[in-house]
Symmetry: C2
Subunit: 416 residues, 2 copies
């Protein structure tokens, strides 16, 4: 087991040295060839995927998990289209972000470069295999993929097709590596491979992410938990507030940028809560509120401290009536996870305060938290949403998969 992980990480590192100075044309040609290969191997991939789905059913996986796991011609085409989309984006490598000249004549430039070898540890979605491979190739990184056991046959098929197509297009095929061993021990070993892996990105549930963050010596970018709030100020447009809350809670409740908790200024609680709750009820949302909330929404359950800390990822919403923006800011400081937070207000001053004082990856005035997403931000692609502060914060696009180096042009300068 260790041998497989070690060998593949080592091969990836060797490949990374070459990848780092491929031209954009070479990478884009390979990405398009990889997309075509996915389409050409549609039947093979579906056949391997069917094995996983069957095993999953036998094991009694939930319907939601089976759905995440299942591929279809449409989903395979989506993966291919994703690779083509990535190929169409500007090359994120070799961008001179700034350049200046020192008094001694030294010219110093900061230029973007690949990170090296990126490890992706994920769960049951086989599409992550293609997405991550494409994003890493575009950014000149080698990738070591480690998907969940549920999708192993699908992942082997997809990664094999991609690595083959990349190799045929002149890219080192070791650039895309899949760890076939699905034991937890293989992950634990990966977490410590500091000499071969430059970055780990865990994509999956809270348990997986915690394990990776707590045990890795390889640098990690933490993605995930979003206990997102909307604060409805007393100067809010109440209709706008209602529409944003319904959207942020219901449009896709199972994702990290979905709304989990609403804070309502007490002066507008009576005017706002009954009608807003009605709309939420229609959408099937359970409300867990404070006692004040219950006065306005008779059918609301009583919220516990635990509820205010919860990322429900479901049609459940906690609600609290607050006396002013200060209490809202304190509540968000205490319970927020630094993902996405919104204020609904027409007050210039309170909007500015919210932007300044809330410490989160994305801070909104008068918009749905659901926009915290690489696509919605206009990045063209996304490898995840970082909830940590170092290197990347918020939606991560291609730029976040690069680092930089300084290139210096001299004419013999020495230090006095």
């Amino acid at each position: 087991m260790e041998q497989e992980v070690f060998n593949k990480a080592k091969e990836a590192k060797e490949a990374a040295r070459k990848l780092s100075f491929l031209s954009a044309n070479e990478k884009n040609t390979a990405l398009n060839a990889m997309a075509q290969a996915l389409r050409d191997n549609n039947d093979y991939i579906l056949q391997e995927n069917a094995k996983d789905v069957e095993t999953g059913r036998e094991k009694g996986l939930s319907r939601a998990l089976i759905d995440r796991l299942s591929l279809s011609p449409e989903r395979i085409n989506d993966m291919a289209a994703g690779l083509e989309k990535v190929s169409s984006l500007d090359d994120p490598v070799g961008v001179v972000e700034s350049m200046w000249t020192r008094p001694n004549g030294l010219q110093i430039g900061r230029i973007s470069t690949p990170v090296g070898v990126v490890g992706i540890i994920y769960e049951a979605r086989p599409n992550v295999t293609a997405d991550a491979a494409g994003l890493c190739l575009k950014t000149g990184n080698a990738v070591v993929l480690r998907g969940g056991s549920e999708a192993i046959n699908s992942n082997k098929a997809v990664a094999g097709v991609l690595a083959g197509a990349a190799g045929a297009a002149g890219i080192p095929s070791a650039a895309v590596q899949l760890i076939e061993n699905t034991d937890r021990a293989a992950v634990n070993y990966m977490l410590k491979l500091k000499d071969y892996l430059d970055l780990l990105i865990p994509r999956g549930g809270a348990g997986l992410i915690r394990t990776v963050v707590e045990n890795a010596t390889v640098p990690v970018i933490e993605t995930g938990v979003g206990n997102c709030h909307v604060y409805v100020d007393n100067e809010a447009n109440l209709e706008m507030a209602r529409d944003i809350i319904v959207n942020a809670k219901c449009q896709r409740p199972g994702v990290c940028n979905a709304l989990e908790s609403v804070l309502v200024h007490r002066d507008i609680a009576a005017a706002f809560l009954p009608a807003a709750a009605e709309k939420l009820k229609e959408a099937g949302v359970e409300i867990r509120g404070c006692e004040q909330t219950q006065k306005h929404v008779s059918w609301a359950n009583l919220a516990t401290e635990e509820d205010y800390s919860s990322e429900f990822l479901d049609l459940v919403l906690s609600v609290k009536v607050v006396k002013d923006i200060d209490e809202a800011l304190d509540h968000i400081y205490e319970f927020g996870t630094g993902h996405s937070e919104a204020i609904i207000t027409d007050s210039y001053q309170k909007g500015r305060r919210f932007h300044r004082e809330v410490d989160a990856a994305a801070v909104y005035i008068n918009a749905s938290t659901r926009f915290t997403d690489g696509g919605m931000f206009g990045f063209g692609a996304e490898i995840g949403i970082s909830t940590q502060k170092l290197h990347a914060r918020g939606p991560m696009g291609l730029k976040e998969l690069t680092t930089s180096k300084y290139i210096i042009f001299g004419e013999g300068q020495i230090r006095e």
Copy 2:
């Protein structure tokens, strides 16, 4: 012990919330007051420092360590001047790095913000106490300082004076915290305080840095090891090459950007090595070279594989004759630590190749590696030189002590 570390980290985190939205004027006023307080307390600080120096002498610390530890009126004035310099720099917080409008009208901006609480773990230099406190305050971060036992009285004096002056200037005095317990266990406990510390920067020897990197769950920025090379190409100006090598090796041999290893193209080895070696010998440098080197420098010792891997931090230099730039690039790939690497050449094409293919924080054409430094790069201040790839690479100035968040301006946008 744990209680002290926990309480101080917790207080720092509370202070950080307020620090994050102080105006530049408030921070700069405090920095200047802190500088003045150091000067006003010159005698007290010297008296406390004398205790450490005396204990150090009793313990038989090396002369170099005693020198690092010792303060003088001049050094105290330097610390004060450093704080004033930092106060004169532009505020790194609140910089809108980019802002754009999406097709749906959402306006999205990326704005720099403090990281939160920064832990600095360092050894015997009391000036780090003032430098780190100043840089962290300027960037709106709280700081938890943990210096070595050798300097504990000096650190308590300096940190106490700074925290008092900051408090008097209206800054939460909990913004500058010093851990007074000097047991190794206090460091180990700090490394895991992920809920209170946002970033750790170890400053010191390789052993300290390794301990921190391998055991911390708090994100770390690794600083330090520099096995720096100069490759003298066959198209080099040999006089320039000699001057750069002598400068990079001898100007200050004990620092991470000092030269450790020279690679010489075989075609110019005979023309270059004897004269260059003569200059190095005059400066007291021991040469450890390959067999080819020994042919040109009779007094050179034979280098081992170990020598090529070593960061000597001393007047010792490893030398290797290589057959071309490819061998030089391979050697740097194998032995380099990704700090600072230089080529001396007049070839446009080889210069470009070196810039592109060498994976290091700073890659030079025709200049000394000694320029890898926040001051020399023009950053105005430096908290260390990162040798890792994430978040910060190379000299870290104020910007590297900040993170960013997205601020979004909407008019009721919801996601379709």
